[in-house]
């Protein structure tokens, strides 16, 4: 059963996408979009929505905002790193799959974490089993689980823990 919070966030998400799609705005379109979004978010769909895992305390929202920039920074830095490896004449790569551990419990938190890992170049999430995430890493600098966790996961996890535990 979906919680009220998940439905509200779902409604807001759908409506914001509709508003972006119909810019420049008119009141009629916005109203119809709100009605349709409300109808969709109230549908009695089976299963629980991961959106309900999002915390809506001021601290969590502030961290969500910060996380955007943390992720952007990681994206740019790792893009430049991969670009450097691609252009380097010796192609300095040492690919491998490492096992990292996550402390996140909720499905939304894990979704965000694994997606962030995949979106930053140099690392791809291959598999998630229990608490273990298997990550393909283009240049393995720490083969053991603890070192790889510190290098790949902890920068994101610190924020995601507050956002959605």
């Amino acid at each position: 059963m979906r919680t009220l919070k998940a439905r509200l966030i779902g409604f807001l998400g759908l409506w914001v996408v509709w508003l972006l799609l119909t810019s420049p705005w008119s009141a009629q379109e916005a109203l119809v979009g709100a009605l349709v979004a409300a109808f969709i978010s109230l549908l009695p769909l089976a299963g629980r929505s991961p959106l309900g895992d999002l915390r809506v305390t001021p601290k969590a929202l502030a961290y969500l905002f910060l996380y955007f920039f943390v992720f952007l920074k990681a994206l740019v830095l790792s893009n430049l790193d991969v670009a450097f490896r691609v252009l380097h004449p010796k192609l300095p790569i040492a690919p491998g799959i490492v096992k990292v551990k996550t402390r996140l419990r909720t499905s939304l938190g894990r979704l965000l974490l694994t997606s962030s890992i995949t979106l930053t170049p140099g690392t791809i999430t291959v598999e998630l089993r229990g608490d273990d995430i298997y990550v393909h890493w283009i240049n393995v600098t720490a083969a053991d689980s603890a070192g790889a966790t510190a290098a790949i996961v902890q920068g994101f996890e610190k924020y995601l823990e507050v956002i959605c535990g």
Binding site: L21, V82, V86, P95, L119, P121, I124, T125
Partner: protein, 131 residues
């Protein structure tokens, strides 16, 4: 002014596309090609689309939706591709020095074969490829 910034961002984005193409050609195996190719396109396409959005502000809303969808769908497809590539790692010649996932699968397979008499223990299809 905004148009110039937009054009510059688009140029930067297409530079990342070029890097992705070079990476596709130079990288040795499937997973590394994914790293260079599909990944450099994330920043590449984000910058490229943002640049177009700044040049044509009336498109900006739709551009943001496009970026959102790329960011949401790219990891899912990359993950599916990576899993498929890893399951076929012997046939497509993947080389990885620590392969924690293969070790975990080998452990699981050993555990499954040691309890093979129990009818419920069956190895996954990925493990069957290994042998």
């Amino acid at each position: 002014m905004l148009a110039i910034v937009g054009a510059f961002l688009s140029l930067l984005g297409s530079a990342f596309f070029v890097l992705a193409a070079i990476g596709l050609l130079r990288m040795p195996d499937a997973l590394n090609r994914m790293q260079a190719g599909t990944k450099a396109t994330t920043l590449g396409s984000i910058l490229f689309l943002l640049g177009i959005g700044l040049m044509r502000p009336d498109f900006l809303g739709r551009i943001i939706i496009l970026i959102l969808f790329i960011v949401l769908t790219n990891p899912v497809s990359s993950n599916a591709l990576a899993r498929a590539a890893h399951a076929w790692r012997d046939r497509i010649g993947l080389k990885m020095t620590p392969d924690a996932l293969a070790e975990a699968e080998a452990e699981a397979a050993a555990l499954a074969s040691s309890t093979a008499e129990a009818a419920s223990a069956k190895p996954t299809s990925e493990v069957q490829h290994d042998a």
